[in-house]
């Protein structure tokens, strides 16, 4: 279980998180939705200890990662898989080496079988074994994302954090990724936290949806509760309306 309590983070004068409280239960898929710049990705990075908050706590199975030292943090990070927004594949390594990277470091006992695991995980994300020998620069955007997902699940983490997993993918591949997230939850009882703008994907894969606005969680509920909400803030977001309480600072073209 992940418990986030009173999380605050500023970058200079930009107060991104203003006291986030959120519980993510073991085995559930939690969606975090919100506008661009609302602090979704920053929140995700705090969960795995990539960022230190100014105030507040993040408990992973009752262990406060904010107060953990480097070794304790490393032990906790082992349990997380992270799919980065831009894939973040290592350019200097092949696809196979990228996928095997976490296996060698985090699950050395699987190291002798790494080649089989790579082929297996590539198949899981719909890629052929030949892709393993390519460099990331030779892949399309969608393929990079799938390889990144294969890398994040290769060492079988307990928690998987997805930063916009379907952004930039075609509708069919988005559906494949959605199915994969659902499959991982069902088969392995993986706990997932998914940051996304994609409402179709959110309804399909989640157990609960939380909305972040101006650095705070303003709504939380099941997909049906969110879909049928009367809250004007949430309603505007899920229907994608330009008119409503959320004002985007954009200049209309005259």
């Amino acid at each position: 279980m992940i418990q986030i309590k009173g999380l605050e983070k500023s970058f200079g004068r930009n107060h991104v998180l203003r006291g986030v409280d959120l519980d993510i239960r073991t085995g559930e898929t939690m969606i975090i939705m919100g506008g661009s710049g609302s602090g979704k990705s920053v929140l995700l990075k705090h969960i795995v200890g990539l960022m230190k908050p100014d105030r507040g706590h993040v408990f992973v199975d009752e262990k406060d990662i904010v107060r953990s030292n480097e070794e304790e943090l490393f032990a906790i990070q082992k349990r997380f898989g992270y799919l980065f927004q831009g894939a973040a594949l290592f350019d200097s390594l092949t696809v196979g080496e990228n996928i095997a990277f976490g296996i060698h470091n985090l699950r050395p006992e699987y190291s002798p079988k790494w080649k089989d695991i790579v082929v297996d995980k590539l198949a899981l994300v719909g890629l052929k074994p030949e892709v393993a020998g390519l460099k990331p620069a030779e892949l399309s955007g969608g393929m990079k994302k799938r390889v990144a997902l294969a890398r994040a699940i290769a060492y079988e983490p307990d928690y998987i954090l997805y930063d916009e997993p379907t952004t930039g993918l075609d509708p069919i591949m988005s559906a494949v990724i959605n199915e994969l997230i659902i499959g991982l939850q069902k088969k392995l009882n993986v706990t997932s936290v998914v940051v996304t703008h994609d409402m179709n994907s959110a309804y399909k894969i989640s157990n609960r949806i939380a909305m972040i606005y101006l650095g705070k969680i303003v709504a939380i509920g099941s997909p049906d509760e969110i879909r049928n909400t009367k809250d004007p803030l949430v309603k505007q977001f899920i229907t994608g309306s330009a008119v409503g309480p959320i004002q985007m600072p954009v200049k209309a073209v005259e």
Partner: protein, 262 residues
């Protein structure tokens, strides 16, 4: 009182930078001390940094030795009517100053820039964060091999630069200035001793430390996309070069005071 405020801010920034550099050193050298290094990656970096820099370092030092011989030769002809002490001028200038400094400036431009650009690109594309989540410290995986490579290869390249520069001087001295080869080598041997060579090599070790610290620090701290990578790379090269030249003076003073190459 705006200047007081900006002065205070400057002092704060400097203290923060210094603190971060010391943390980078502490972490890097503790990995090295514990033997927590990947020899294969370190050798790759040595080859990439050292061996690949050799042609340009060699060419630079060859022509530096040649131009030193030309300049000192014709100046001394004007004063003494004959080219005296060419071997000593070329040898001492190269071994104590120009070999280490020019080699380091070339490495800062060629290698320091590449390190900052590579680490900076990794930083803005979240590859450094990915390393963390995959159980590896970016300092262990990226900084440690580069520190080892530069700390080992800069003095080696500087030593080779000394040798090639002296050979450059020899070519000009014997062919252009008509000095007998025995006289040139005798001057070099008489005036340049092991202490002078150590003086230059110790300095080049510290120049290597300046380059790798600046380029890793700037690379790890890069933000702001492609523009940020460009800015960080330029800053890393400029700061390295300025620190090398400023550091050269202070290192020379300290080494001479310690009796090394006085």
């Amino acid at each position: 009182m705006i200047w007081v405020e900006s002065l205070g801010q400057m002092v704060l920034n400097l203290a923060e930078t210094l603190g971060r550099v010391i943390t980078l050193w502490k972490k890097t050298f503790s990995f090295i001390a514990k033997g927590n290094v990947t020899p294969q990656v370190s050798f790759e970096q040595m080859s990439k940094i050292g061996v690949a820099s050799f042609p340009v370092v060699g060419l630079t030092s060859l022509f530096t030795g040649m131009v030193l011989a030309v300049q000192s030769g014709y100046s001394f002809i004007k004063v003494f009517n004959e080219p005296l002490f060419i071997g000593s001028v070329v040898g001492l200038s190269l071994v104590k100053e120009l070999g280490p400094v020019l080699t380091s400036v070339v490495i800062a431009g060629r290698v320091g820039a590449a390190i900052t650009a590579e680490l900076g690109t990794m930083s803005v594309t979240e590859q450094l964060d990915a390393l963390y989540t995959l159980g590896t410290s970016p300092i262990r995986y990226l900084a440690v091999p580069r520190f080892i490579a530069l700390l080992v290869m800069t003095p080696i390249l500087a030593a080779l630069a000394d040798l090639i520069g002296i050979i450059g001087g020899f070519i000009v001295a014997t062919i252009q200035l008509g000095i007998p080869s025995g006289v040139y080598w005798e001057e070099v041997q008489t005036w340049v001793d092991l202490n002078d060579v150590c003086h230059g090599l110790i300095k080049s070790f510290f120049f290597g430390l300046i380059i790798v610290t600046t380029s890793c620090y700037k690379g790890f701290g890069t933000s702001g996309g492609a523009e940020g990578v460009g800015r960080a790379t330029t800053e890393a090269v400029v700061i390295s070069m300025v620190l090398i030249l400023v550091g050269d003076y202070f290192l020379s003073v300290v080494l001479v005071a310690m009796g090394i190459g006085g």
